[in-house]
Amino acid sequence: MKASNSLWKDELAGKMPQHLAREIDIFETEITLRKQGKLDERLFAETLLRRGTYGQRYDNGQRSDGKKVQQLDFPSGELTKGPNTMWDAPGMQRIKIPAGGLNAAQLETMAELAEEYSDGIAHVTTRQDFQLHYVHIDDTPALMRRLAAANITTREACGNSVRNVTACPYAGVCQDEAFDVTPYARALSRFLLGHPDCQNFGRKFKPAFSGCVQHACGLTSMHDLGLIAAKRSNPETGKEELGFELYVGGGLGAVPYQAKLFDSFVPLHELLPLAQAIARIFARHGEKKNRNRARIKFLIQDLGIEKFRELVLEERKILPYDPRWREYIEEARPQEEMPLKPSGELSSLVIIENLNGSSEDFRHWLKTNTRPQRQSGYVTVTVALPLGDITANQLRSLAHIVRRFTRESVRTTVEQNFVIRWVSKSDLPELYKRLRAVGLGNPGAGTLVDITSCPGTDTCKLGISSSRGLAAELRRRMTEKSFQMDQAVQNLHIKISGCFNSCGQHHVADLGFYGVSRKIAGYAVPHFQVVLGGEWSHNAGSYGLPVVAVPSKNIPQVVERLTNRYVAGRRDGESFKDFIKRLGKAELKTLLEDLTRPPAGDHSLFSDWGDPREYTLGDMGEGECAGEVVSPVEFGLGAAERELFEAQLAFEGNRIKQAGRKAYESMLTAAKALVKIENPNISDDPDQIIAEFRAHYYDTQKFFDPFAGGKFANYLFDAHRKANQPYTTESARYLMHEAQLFIDAAHSCNNRLGTLVTA
């Protein structure tokens, strides 16, 4: 689209790393070939993904405008950039930032690109990447060249590849870390980028590094490959040795898995070859056909960690020696970041005199947004971004500020913020003033108002509910009173995903929400499933469980009610997670029950936050809200929800067998509810329910999710196949998650069928 696109190649010749320049030239050629019809659209689609170029909502050329489905007549007509993806439809560009580390010039580059190719906003993701939205595919080679000239790549930012290698943003300055993991995160990123052994995965592969076990910053438990810094006394030499606790097979997604310990100590020089061996085993044995079971977590679940370890170690033995294993580690040896300014202390007199009446705000900001470094006299400063968004002007200002106060030490975080490192304490008032002047001095980093959200229905094709809309609304309501809240509430985390796929990391929040749809009075209504009791600390130490689905517009009341109850009812020192566990599912459901039902005649529930369009209008009949008619299917789905709830209660009571059985039965009940539409005389025989569900809904693809396909139906088939096997705590927990997703999918299927009837 940009008239200047063709000029950047010459302009930046010699200024880009050669391998990146070559890569982008190839990509540009592939674009040309695709335009000429000489490159298959499926192949081209994966090519795009491996360059970090992703589709956006409505890129199939259709959009519901609130009254009808509108055809978007793009100028390039039928030309596609992937199956059912129109060439001209704007897309998302993801940009990898290994370990989140940036310098000032890179921030300025990001500002330029946001302005010239996007809508003026750069978005920080929950994996320390950047994303630009509404980017035209024809602009991407120029955009990539400008990034390459700043030594940034988009390669393998999406697709079935090794994604951005994330790391604790406090690495190197943290009080509690074993050592600085940054250089090793960069070495691994460099080693695996484009590695031949990483080109044949069935799904993505996400590595993460943490400097310690106890904090959340690295989130290693929810990653495919998690590495926690460790030290030991070398058994042979007796000298202190650095290495990693290595975990594999974690992941959020629809059903979250905790990573399993592979090795309690992997020496530094073994990091790269062992990662390579893991990649080989994943590529060789991982699922390829069914992408819903293609993450490494499923391979490890199927093989068992012992067998997986055995395969990897055997592979490690036969790996051809690669000198880069040592070179990259040696080259990455800590080049310690240095401060720009002498260390200092913060005088209380300075606070009052220099801040022109904003000293109270400054005190709040100091409390929540600064953190002492290991190095005396220095702190880190968190720049809290609302919804992870930052403008081009703010990026330039931030670049100026990090040059002024540090040696350009700034990192993105998985909480969608920035951390400025090596700030002298004596500079804090001046730094605060400068941040505040450009709207980057918001207090509340890491607190209840610092809400994480994926893009949701704003731009994501998979979004079901408006996660950003809800996040913005919660933030707006809570920001002003956040510092009057009880301290225990201030420290809670809210995380929101627009669908079950967990990009907003709802499983590891105190209060998590993910988008689902439900039918109320014949209307499709955006909802969020409430997920409580997840643990953010201990590298995302445990996952929450779904409690109940509530209309989107009632979620602020859910937050208010739960936090009030926590303040009133918690015991001394009791965490929210423990409080939720003590309260129990039954009590929680009772607490929130009335919020699942809309007040009669309240039409606001039928649109989502920040979007006045009526939600999936095609589902709506002619009747008024008050004229509620509940179909037998809805009764059946309600019964399934109740059975799942009973399963959760049994799980809470450590009645694992009963929990597993009930979860399975809830799936059968939901399936039967749908089958009844086709066969009102369906029996209770599980085999018959499964057979008829398969015939009427799976083989016909009526049950298929538009994007996940038959994934949720397969949960049912798997559960049925394993119905006579004993349930373990782990398998029952997974099954409850799967049952919830199956029931959600049954609701969606029922909504879609309603569309067909009324359209």
Binding site: F74, G610, D611
Partner: protein, 208 residues
Amino acid sequence: MKGISTQEQHSVKFQHVNVKLLLNTPEAVHLDAVIPVFHGWIQEQVFDELLLDVADYRHVHEGPGIVLIGHEADYSLDKTDGRLGIRYNRKAPLEGNNQDRLIQATRAVLNACIRMEQDSRLNGQIAFNGQEIEIFINDRMLAPNLERTREAVAPDLDTLLRKLFGSTTYSLEFTTDPRKLLEARIRASRAFSSSELIQNLAPEGLEL
């Protein structure tokens, strides 16, 4: 900044013009009221350009505000630099010369402004302040924010502004931060209505 070797060959032929009209009483404008208006424009596809989506950035400090995303161009209620205005961002290249492209973008933003001024859902909240316009060139390759470029584009801007304001005098000031887009801030010495400006721009009965 980029080098200027390639730019020198293309230094005065620019594309991707942005024009922003500053609003009266910006403190009275509620951006949330604009969201349904933009959705309505998509429903009715009110312009020749293909309109696609609405992006809500109310939560961002001095950001793009509410953006109506289009294929050829975006329209926004933009708060950049704390100056609220209606902004037109031409994304697709246009044929013609610099003057044609300046006129196209100015006409587009004035059309959008008139629509908003007349929209009953906005209760008169949105009105051009009559005097202040900002013009940006959203392409650093074609128009880097350098003294040389500013001198080169000044005559084109002058021609446009004489069309718009007639004999009324105006001031024009460029921002000079080389990291930022090339930007001119213009202030007429008297107030104009948006209808008056669009008439001035197309006095020969051209389609408005």
